[in-house]
Amino acid sequence: MEIKETRLEEHLITQEPYYLASGKEIEIAISAHRNCLPLLLKGPTGCGKTRFMQFLAWKLQRPLITVSCHDDLSTSDLVGRFLIRSGEAVWMDGPLTLAVRAGAICYLDEIVEARKDTTVVIHPLADDRRELPVEKLGELLLAPPEFMISVSYNPGYQSVLKDLKPSTRQRFVAISFDYPNPQMEAEIVCKEGGVDKKLADSLVKLAGMTRSLKESGLTEGASTRLLIQTGLLVQDGIDIHTACRAALIEPLSDAPELLAALQEMVSSIF
């Protein structure tokens, strides 16, 4: 087994990622990059936000540095810190600093998961100053025009406590994502999951049913990503009922009644 290693800031996407645009999002993002504006993507889990970023990075031919945010993420995790190497303190750039230096695209996934004091560090980068102060080094980095900062979040399930601060929010060009319309979604499932059109249509139908169960206790229905994963299992020879159970139903809920109801939907459709 061979493991390929590349430096983060040199990581270029060379092959065109599959992305089916559902609106003018590509034009908007390219224009935002040209005008040095930061980008905010919002939408439910697994609807293609990250894939869109990959596509954009490929289209712009810039390295893409993704940071998955969590509530323990500190400013040092983003900007950088001193490490000890052979008895000496050595500075190590964080992903954000790396991205600024390399003129890359820095993508902070699920930004609301990070603590508010951490997200403030992107403020000077996300307005017309486009600078990143690295206090510990006493440096002020000016972002090159190629650099872009992009953040994403899912407005669906976060609590009020985890909303974006208006001062953060109001710096971005925002693009709203949702699950694609059924025809497009089926096309995506066909292409990515490697299943035939008929099966893809049925999977999309099933996803539509799960998405209408909010009142019944399912916070979020099946995402396009889950459909693709189901498709991949089927393509690998696993029968459709088992594949749906493993890749579509179980990941959605733990409530026995909901699971049973979802299982009944699967057995009705297939």
């Binding site: 400013t75 000890i84 459709i269």
Partner: protein
């Protein structure tokens, strides 16, 4: 058993009620010849039925000879449980009917002839059908299946096959099939162009007028129903092939036509035959093209209307009475009146929603415009027409010329002759309303204007708004009857009461008395507070711990293995806890106990203020199920101010300890709270007990059940008690390690904060 003894036992069991002696003697007659063992067993059921309904209890005894013929003593408790369920859902008549007539059916079920109740699978089927339908359909019980487009009605129980898997499949198929009628638009309300001559008034569904236009409306209805059923089934073939495969394999072979000689039986047969046969069965009635359309799901509701009209003459026999065909189990019936009613309700609801939205919009307009409206409205109060004449909803006439462009035409509102465009959300809602009901919700405008006017008036008059936000002060809760293994529905009414704050030196005295303890508690609780602190000597962290680094370098120079814990990390301990204290205010706490409880609450509140956990304090007491009382001392989000302190001071023992309802209510409060840990801490001095039959095992089991309900929604109950006999029942109620017994009342104030600290850290 001797009559006198029987009567005496009966009066004991129903005390304090004293029913009429004649009645009692009459109903107990049937027991005289029975053995003591049987009598005791039967009398044992009296306390279960009597409190629910006296007449039902008499009926039970009256019907006893027949019951004992059919059921043995072990079967009776379950049978009583079902009877009471009937009583609670459908009333006395239904319960009597069940007792009297349905015993055979009940027996056949007991003998293992299957039978699946809706109640046992509803939780599974409701999300299923909602998912399939992609809206919030309801499932309701009815003798025969049908849908009114907002709910699907299915039998309470299915006894279709001895195998419950088949019964389940039938339930699932009925639900899906009935949804099919909605999805396929079978309840058509708009006349097709060929039938515009059929007159129909506003409140009647066009379909009903259509059927009425035939010489034999029931025949027309049945033909249409059968055709639509075929259409629905073809639709399901395409939409849900898996379900149709299962139905074809397991359900259809079990279904036989009830009246094979009925002229429409062939149309029904198509529904349960396999694909090959279906076509040939329809040969006789439909042309090749029509057959294809129907069996491949390409037919529309208009085709069914046309065909029904055409086929009517084929089936209609003059001078012979038409007997409607009995539907197949899944087919159900077309209940157009129910659809009409549901539609009216929906129209009313949407209209009211519209009125609310419109009122909110009107309030955003300038006060002058609205002020005029309100003034005129008031001038002629009671005449809503005036407001309506000042404000109206129109569709822009330029666009509204052709029906196709309906959706593009902007909807305008005119207020005092001035035209305004509606905000987007309101406009979309109005258009949806137009789509669904064929007219604009103009008749709700006056109510919107009224509401807006009223709101303004209330804004002007201070304090009036508070009235509207006042909480409803009584709630009903179920109670668990362990003998019945079921709930007594809406059994207890819980009244919300306010404690009158009393000025008293109690708080100050307590604080003085426990001065040292308070300081210590504050300090202890401060340590627990959510805080950020730097922890040194970590393997990873945000910064270098230079002390550790220097040490490590000198270690390695000295040849000692050096530590790799060289970092400082910011550690956050977040407490996300919500807790409700439920204080027993029963009579038995009078004296020392009540004082100790109050002192504990004061110390606890002082400590909690330092800690920052959200906490609420409520007291409970009451007498009998109709008057359980829930006293507000401090709400979760209320601050610990003078009023709260005074309310703690005024906590006083009053009546009994019916624990179920307050625990259930505390659960419902905490359920809405978003916190990592949610606790209900009950402070009590003894067993749950009330003046009526809420005693002993019954009370303990109900309390235990209320606690289990809390646990299922992830709320942890904990109990602090000073009852010496607590160990006997506490473990059963709360589970091991979920209660603590304090032997010295005077230690209560010291122990409670300590217990809380251990419990939450």
């Amino acid at each position: 058993m001797k009559p006198a003894l029987l009567t005496e036992r009966f009066y004991d069991l129903v005390a304090p009620d004293i029913p009429n002696e004649w009645d009692v003697e009459e109903v107990l007659e049937s027991l005289i010849d029975e053995s003591d063992h049987v009598c005791e067993a039967i009398l044992g059921h009296i306390p279960i039925i009597w409190p629910v309904s006296h007449s039902l209890c008499f009926d039970f005894l009256r019907l006893l000879p027949k019951t004992l013929e059919h059921l043995n003593l072990e079967q009776i408790p379950r049978w009583i449980g079902i009877t009471l369920d009937h009583y609670e859902t459908d009333g006395l008549r239904a319960a009597q009917r069940f007792m009297q007539d349905d015993i055979d059916q009940y027996l056949s079920k007991l003998k293992g002839c299957g039978g699946l109740s809706l109640a046992s699978i509803e939780k599974k089927l409701l999300p299923y059908i909602r998912g399939i339908a992609r809206n919030d359909l309801q499932i309701e019980q009815a003798g025969i299946s049908y849908t009114d487009t907002t709910s699907i009605y299915v039998p309470e129980e299915l006894n279709f096959s001895p195998n419950n898997d088949d019964n389940f499949l039938l339930y699932k198929y009925i639900l899906t099939f009935q949804w099919g009628f909605i999805a396929c638009g079978s309840f058509i309300n708009k006349a097709p162009s060929e039938f515009t001559h059929i007159e129909c008034d506003k409140d009647t569904f066009w379909l009903r007028s259509f059927f009425a236009s035939f010489e034999e409306p029931l025949l027309a209805r049945d033909i249409y129903h059968c055709l639509e059923s075929i259409r629905v089934q073809s639709f399901l073939e395409q939409e849900l092939p898996g379900l149709m495969r299962a139905a074809g394999k397991h359900l259809f072979p079990l279904i036989s036509l009830r009246n094979k000689n009925h002229p429409l039986s062939t149309l029904q047969q198509v529904l349960i035959e396999d694909n090959l046969k279906q076509g040939s069965l329809l040969d006789h009635y439909l042309s090749k093209r029509e057959r294809k359309q129907y069996l491949q799901g390409q037919a529309s509701v208009y085709d069914s209307i046309n065909l029904s009209s055409k086929m009517f003459s084929k089936f209609h026999q003059k001078n012979a009475e038409y007997i409607p065909i009995s539907p197949l189990p899944f087919q159900g019936i077309l209940k157009l009146r129910a659809v009409e009613t549901a539609r009216k309700i929906k129209e009313q609801k949407m209209g009211e929603h519209f009125a609310d939205m419109m009122a909110a919009y009107l309030l955003t307009l300038s006060r002058k415009e609205l002020g005029d409206l309100h003034k005129e409205d008031k001038l002629d109060s009671g005449n809503e027409g005036l407001a309506e004449s000042d404000i109206s909803l129109i569709m822009d006439s330029e666009f509204a010329q052709t029906a196709d462009q309906d959706k593009e035409a902007p909807i305008l509102i005119t207020i005092n002759n001035e035209q305004l465009e509606l905000p987007a959300e309101l406009e979309e809602f109005t258009k949806n309303f137009l789509d669904e009901f064929g007219h604009l919700p103009a008749n709700f405008l006056s109510s919107a204007a009224g509401k807006a006017g009223q709101a303004m008036l209330e804004q002007d008059v201070q304090g009036q708004t508070e009235e509207s936000s006042k909480q409803k002060d009584t709630l009903l809760y179920d109670e668990w009857d362990y003998r019945r293994q079921g709930y007594r529905k809406n059994w207890c009414s819980l009244h919300f009461k306010e404690l009158t704050p009393i000025h008293s030196p109690f708080i100050q005295n307590t604080l003085d008395k426990y001065h040292g303890l308070t300081i210590r508690l504050r300090h202890q609780f401060e340590m627990m507070r959510s805080q950020e602190r730097f922890v040194k000597r970590q393997r990873e962290g945000d910064d270098i711990d230079f002390d550790a680094l220097v040490e490590s370098i000198s270690d390695s120079r000295a040849g000692i293995s050096s530590s790799d814990r060289l970092f400082i990390r910011l550690k956050r301990d977040e407490r996300d806890i919500a807790v409700l204290f439920l204080v027993d205010m029963s009579n038995s706490t009078a004296g020392w106990v009540n004082n100790a409880l109050k002192e504990s609450l004061v110390l606890m509140s002082e400590a909690m203020e330092v800690l920052g956990d959200r906490y609420g304090i409520y007291g409970f007491s009451g007498m009998r199920r109709a008057r359980c009382e829930f006293f507000h001392v401090k709400h979760l989000n209320e601050s610990y101010g003078e009023q709260v302190k005074e309310r703690i001071g005024s906590i006083a023992p009053s009546e009994y300890t019916r624990m179920g309802p307050p625990i259930r209510h505390a659960t419902s409060i905490l359920k809405e709270v978003d916190a990592k840990v949610r606790l209900i801490i009950t402070l009590t001095d003894g067993k749950p007990e009330d003046y009526d039959d809420y005693k002993g095992e019954y009370a303990i089991e109900d309390t235990r059940h209320a606690l289990l309900e809390a646990k299922t929604v992830d709320i942890h109950p904990f109990c602090i008690t000073i009852d010496h006999q607590a160990k006997d029942y506490m473990q059963h109620m709360y589970g091991p390690a979920n209660y603590i017994f304090i032997d010295n009342v005077r230690k209560l104030p010291l122990r409670i904060p300590e217990i809380y600290r251990v419990l939450t850290s």
